[in-house]
Assembly symmetry: C2
Homo-oligomer: 558 residues x 2
């Protein structure tokens, strides 16, 4: 079979950006370099390439190709990497299913995407078995295993992944796709409503890959990711393509290590055994690794890690640097593919003191190539880079989702004035670093000023008695809103600390310039627990309802 | 003035690849880093950016914008760099005029491009004054000087460059262009016919810049070009945008040094004074620099240089490495923007002996990201990568010229079977390195085999008596063609060496495996001089006619 079109003399080859081109460099440079999955599997780039072709040849029998979506539920593995390439390269869409969602949400996302084929790792079979009859469009289910042994299942199963590859052909003629062909889609969840689908084309992923490679490879600063690095993702592959880094790692031909699920002991063992040098994760994963007993006996001095998904706490950054880990923060969203900004020091700041460096690397960051980041006020005006003008973070780049799948109302919220609206609030300093201060729906609007609820919480948390605190805006006849602080105290302080003590603490912070005066809360509520969402964040929507504040403003009006 | 369009809610910003985005990174990272022109001028990225805006604001008065071509005749300078950005960013085409052409050819190219505005460095005024009345479309001429002093000229001149910038506005609202907008054009010359125009869009230059930055920055091998490097081009800016490297250097925010014309003493002085670390040039320029007296007293151990435009001779590579210069070859053409392949060692070859490394770095090279290079036989079949199957080098990538400007016949020669045909002959080895062996029009076709005229010349040149030698194919009733060697002898060997001696030398080379047996020439002609073209290459077309060979085959039929 060949899809090669015939060209007339003088007819240019209209080169389209296509994920398949990423596989050429490692095959040229380092075909025998390894791709490792836990303890159980070692491929090379040569065998990866062959398996991608075999996978496509196997999937072809179920009409995987244009207008076909394949939903994948797998842990981080070499299989997932194969799917990252083979499925989009066939012209189909890869749906990366978030297996941390509730079964109902999983059903919703797979029905909403209209996926027809599904690849499921054996550990997730119980979920799929339970909801199989509600998956309306799924026609074929393929089981992924580590050992090739097909588990018994009441499902009507099309085959086992490795067996299908073995039966497939090592050659497959991937088509030359239009670069705007959709390559991937996945769902992002908010605190309310159904998950929303975002999607990315070959062009978007290719430009993201090239620009991210330039950002991490071409500038002389900390946190470099180049061909000699050993890469291990610690952000799940279902989550924004593991930041798109598996595509970058493949272009570089770097050794890749896939850890399955995230077990600290195994992660540390993989770091030791394979000499892992580059990873990325949320703060809690790093915290979990560093506090594991084996961390003490693991040399982490060659490990570079980028932190995203949540603000990098200064304390965690300090702890990591004390362990000689090369650490800095980054920023992006599901909607942005995701890489937008990185908090690397500029070259002229590389000799700063350790404390000054800490303050740089925990910022939200400077934009990557081809990324425009601005802060916009409620009237759609772009605000100056003065380190104080605060507004909604808005972005442009060639790899932002065109909208939410089949959701024009949400898409119209996302794209306004020709900018993608992040829902994050922040400012840009004179050095062009972005600093996000809050989610826009959590910001407290008092007398025309925006008060960051995160700032209030951070400051209050530094009082010795405070276990947790959440700041919410409640209606105020004079100021519009004023902050209310919900507080849980550490056991030994319970009943021994009052609102005055906490207010004095906040006043001192304001006197020290860490907080505007209008940010000092009048009202503190001591509670036994603060309501949280399923992913462990404060459920501020619920808290606002609980404390008498109707939703104070419409996000879309900001 | 603003060109900002209005966006409806939900309307995505259709990000188009545009050269203007390259200026963002240096402004974020290193606005005060320098851009230097000889002894006379120092800018920073901040002032570069301002001057680009001023230039656009000044040019706007002459309707420079869409459908307008601006011809620039300048030496390598900060001014040229400003034109590299400002003119395409306005939506106009930048024509980089090759001032080494004859006045007739210069007239031809400027008339053919239909350029309406011209920017001319004062040293080139005598040429322009002589041909002014033949430049049919030129309406405005702006003079570029180093000192701001306007020379007296019979030309009707619109102004002096720096004076126009001073009168311009520091703000200019560059439009969001369709990425397929033509950004640059220039002319390539062959041994026959008129110069041919090639042209590149914003999209092509942007993808070339990103992929070239990845190629030079992200792989751990020799010859790296990253933000801390100090860049000085030694390939003229009129020649394929100085390999597109000024765009890469700007994206990196590297310090840039522009040397004007190429005077070895000044080049060496600039290397010393500014700590230049990265350059590119043809072999003869490097030879000229290394043989200059000042080279002995200049530390070149931090200098990285990429050689293109002609084969890197092993002797020159060895000499450079003996001076601790980091050197390797690269390949590209005017038609290819140009970067295609680089002869960097793979990571697993970095520890090879110096002699083995020499053999790698003088190859034609491995493809850069997004570049496909193959070798094709006369029937359009792609040949195996076996180190011996020889055919025409064909290429695909997103940045190849769409054709020759207003020249469908030549364009149909260039683009056949959906591949750009280079006119070069070579093979690809098992390690995926391309080796070019000849120009297709100079290759000798004997008994169905292709014999590289360059190989024959190289081998004969190694005989102690030979000063120069040229190999041409002459008709042969049995074999189709057989090689004829034209030879000039060194003075002291004249009359003392005969054809038998040279034939024995070639036979020994064949026995040593350096030449196929069918490459041993039967016929040697001793001559006083070998005819050369105006650029110093053997004029093989003339030589073939002189020695009784009609043009042996049609290039387009290969």
């Amino acid at each position: 079979m060949t899809s090669e079109k015939r060209y007339a003399d003088g007819e240019t080859y209209g080169y389209q950006l296509n994920l398949k081109s990423l596989l050429k460099k490692p095959l040229d440079n380092c075909p025998e370099r390894e791709i490792v999955y836990r303890d159980s599997r070692r491929l090379t780039y040569r065998t990866l390439n062959e398996r991608i072709h075999r996978l496509a040849s196997a999937l072809r029998q179920w009409d995987v190709g244009a207008n076909h979506t394949v939903a994948v539920m797998d842990v981080d593995s070499h299989r997932y990497l194969e799917c990252f390439f083979a499925i989009p390269m066939m012209g189909a869409s890869l749906q990366t299913v978030n297996w941390r969602l509730s079964p109902d949400q999983i059903v919703y996302t797979i029905n909403h995407s209209e996926a027809q084929t599904m690849l499921v790792y054996r550990d997730f079979l119980p979920i799929v078995e339970k909801v199989r009859d509600r998956l309306k469009n799924i026609r074929h289910i393929i089981i992924m295993t580590d050992d090739g042994n097909m588990p018994s299942s009441p499902l009507n199963v099309a085959g086992e992944y490795d067996a299908l590859l073995a039966a497939g052909e090592p050659a497959f003629d991937f088509p030359d796709l239009d670069e705007h062909t959709r390559a991937t889609l996945f769902y992002t969840t908010g605190t309310t409503g159904n998950p929303k689908g975002v999607y990315f084309s070959h062009r978007q992923l290719m430009l993201h890959t090239l620009a991210t490679a330039v950002e991490f490879g071409c500038y002389d600063t900390i946190g470099r990711f180049r061909s000699n690095d050993v890469y291990m993702p610690l952000t799940p592959m279902f989550h924004v393509h593991a930041w798109g880094m598996p595509y970058v790692a493949t272009l570089l031909g770097a050794k890749q290590v896939y850890p399955g699920t995230y077990e600290p002991a195994l992660i540390l063992e993989l770091i030791r055994r394979h000499g892992v040098t580059f990873s990325h994760c949320v703060p809690t994963i790093l915290q979990m690794i560093l506090t594991h007993a084996d961390a003490k006996t693991t040399d982490l001095s060659n490990w570079k890690i980028v932190i995203g998904g949540a603000r990098l706490p200064k304390g965690l950054a300090r702890t990591a640097r004390d362990r000689s880990i090369d650490i800095h923060a980054g920023y992006g969203m599901s909607e942005t593919c995701p890489v937008m900004t990185l908090a690397t020091p500029k070259e002229d700041a590389l000799n700063k003191s350790s404390e000054e460096t800490l303050d740089i690397i925990i910022k939200t960051g400077k934009p990557a190539p081809l990324v425009e980041v601005e802060v916009m006020d409620s009237k759609g005006r772009i605000l100056p880079h003065d380190g104080k003008s605060t507004g909604e973070v808005v972005m442009r780049s060639p790899w932002l989702t065109a909208g939410y799948l089949k959701s024009p109302v949400n898409s119209a919220e996302l794209w306004r004035n020709g900018w993608l609206h992040s829902g994050d609030v922040g400012y840009i300093d004179k050095e062009n670093y972005l600093q996000i201060t809050d989610r826009i729906k959590d910001v407290i609007k008092s007398g025309g000023e925006w008060i960051s609820s995160l700032d209030l919480e951070n400051i209050l948390s530094q009082h010795e008695s405070v276990l947790e605190s959440a700041a919410i805006g409640i209606p105020d006849p004079k100021w519009g809103e004023r902050p209310l602080m919900l507080v849980t105290l550490k056991p030994k302080y319970q009943g021994k600390v009052d609102a005055d003590a906490l207010r004095r603490h906040m006043t001192r912070a304001a006197q020290a310039g860490k907080l505007p005066r209008y940010g000092i809360s009048e009202r503190f509520e001591f509670v036994e627990a603060i309501a949280k969402t399923s992913v462990g964040k404060y459920d501020k929507k619920f808290l606002r309802q609980q404390y008498g504040a109707s939703e104070p403003y419409n996000e879309s009006a900001v």
